[in-house]
């Protein structure tokens, strides 16, 4: 177990940083800023995971989030009105429900953290932890690993089918009829 005042201080910096960044996600008008605040929040969580002794998982979390949040920023800017927040706006909706959901989730997770009965096993050395993960993937969890591959494949195909427009057989919406926005109206109007 790693411990010490500096570790504690680092933990608090990461934890509070994550919370503040997470809060800022909803208080900014710019989609890019929102996405990158979220990235900062995730990076802080990744740092905490590293502090917990799961060095590989923490670093991978941080590594993955960079690409993911960039894509999120790009897509949000692409489709949101006023993407840069040039006109002031409010990013939060359904405040009461959101607040209740947030509090319930926090209490539930905190309860699990505080009341749960965790095994008192020593944290393995980070380098052996990665190796153990690899052995696990290739051994007992082989099926999980391979089905993850199939899941990712279907993700890719799904993404291409839904998002792609031009394909081998011509433009996707060729001969398609636009649905009407009014009820009881013929499509294609």
């Amino acid at each position: 177990m790693i411990a010490g005042p500096l570790v504690d201080a680092t933990f608090w910096v990461f934890a509070l940083g994550s919370i503040v960044a997470g809060y800022r996600v909803f208080r900014t008008d710019s989609m890019v800023r929102a996405a990158f605040y979220l990235l900062a929040s995730f990076a802080g969580v990744g740092g905490i995971v590293v502090l917990l002794g799961a060095e590989f998982l923490g670093m991978v979390l941080i590594l993955m989030m960079a690409g993911e949040m960039l894509i999120m920023a790009i897509v949000m800017v692409m489709f949101m009105m006023n993407p840069a927040g040039l006109n002031p706006m409010v990013m939060v909706h359904q405040n009461r429900r959101a607040a209740v959901a947030g509090i319930v989730a926090f209490v539930a997770l905190a309860a699990v953290g505080l009341l749960g009965n965790f095994p008192a096993r020593p944290v393995p050395d980070p380098s052996t932890a990665t190796a153990e993960l690899g052995t696990e993937l290739l051994g007992d969890s082989m099926l999980v690993f391979q089905s993850a591959g199939v899941a990712l494949l279907s993700t890719m195909i799904g993404a291409v089918v839904i998002a792609g427009r031009k394909g081998r057989f011509g433009v996707a919406e060729e001969d398609s009829i636009e649905p009407s926005l009014q009820p009881d109206e013929e499509p294609g109007r």
């Binding site: 502090l51 991978v60 690899g134 993700t155």
Partner: protein, 120 residues
């Protein structure tokens, strides 16, 4: 620091580099900064006056590729632990990762055939 080890040291290097550059940015912006007039702040367009703000709902033409990236990036997570135990596990690691990668490459092949990687 001692307890955290190498990652903490490299993180400290990151923080220091970040802070130094941020401070230089701030300090370096101070000299010779009379208030900038409106025409002085116009973004460069080769001498033309922009009609609208540059920030817009930017039509990213590589969105399909970005989505495929998301899936492929996930695959990398599995490859790191695999690489570490590859020599130890030998042929079985080779075969299993070969299967996994083949499945994913099918996705890329499909995207390529459907021209999802091409610019619109």
């Amino acid at each position: 620091m001692v307890a955290l080890g190498p990652l903490a040291v490299s993180f400290a290097v990151f923080v220091a580099g970040f802070a130094v550059v941020l401070a230089s940015w701030w300090l370096g912006g101070r000299p010779r900064s009379p208030a900038q007039t409106a025409p002085e702040r116009v973004p460069f367009g080769g001498g033309a006056d922009p009609r609208v703000h540059a920030w817009n709902r930017y039509h990213v033409r590589y969105y399909s590729m970005a989505l495929i990236f998301l899936a492929f990036d996930m695959e990398m997570v599995f490859m790191y632990p695999w690489a570490v135990v590859f020599v130890r596990e030998g042929l079985i690691a080779m075969v299993e990762m070969g299967m996994f990668i083949t499945i994913l490459l099918l996705g890329v092949l499909y995207a390529w055939r459907e021209r999802a990687l091409e610019w619109a």
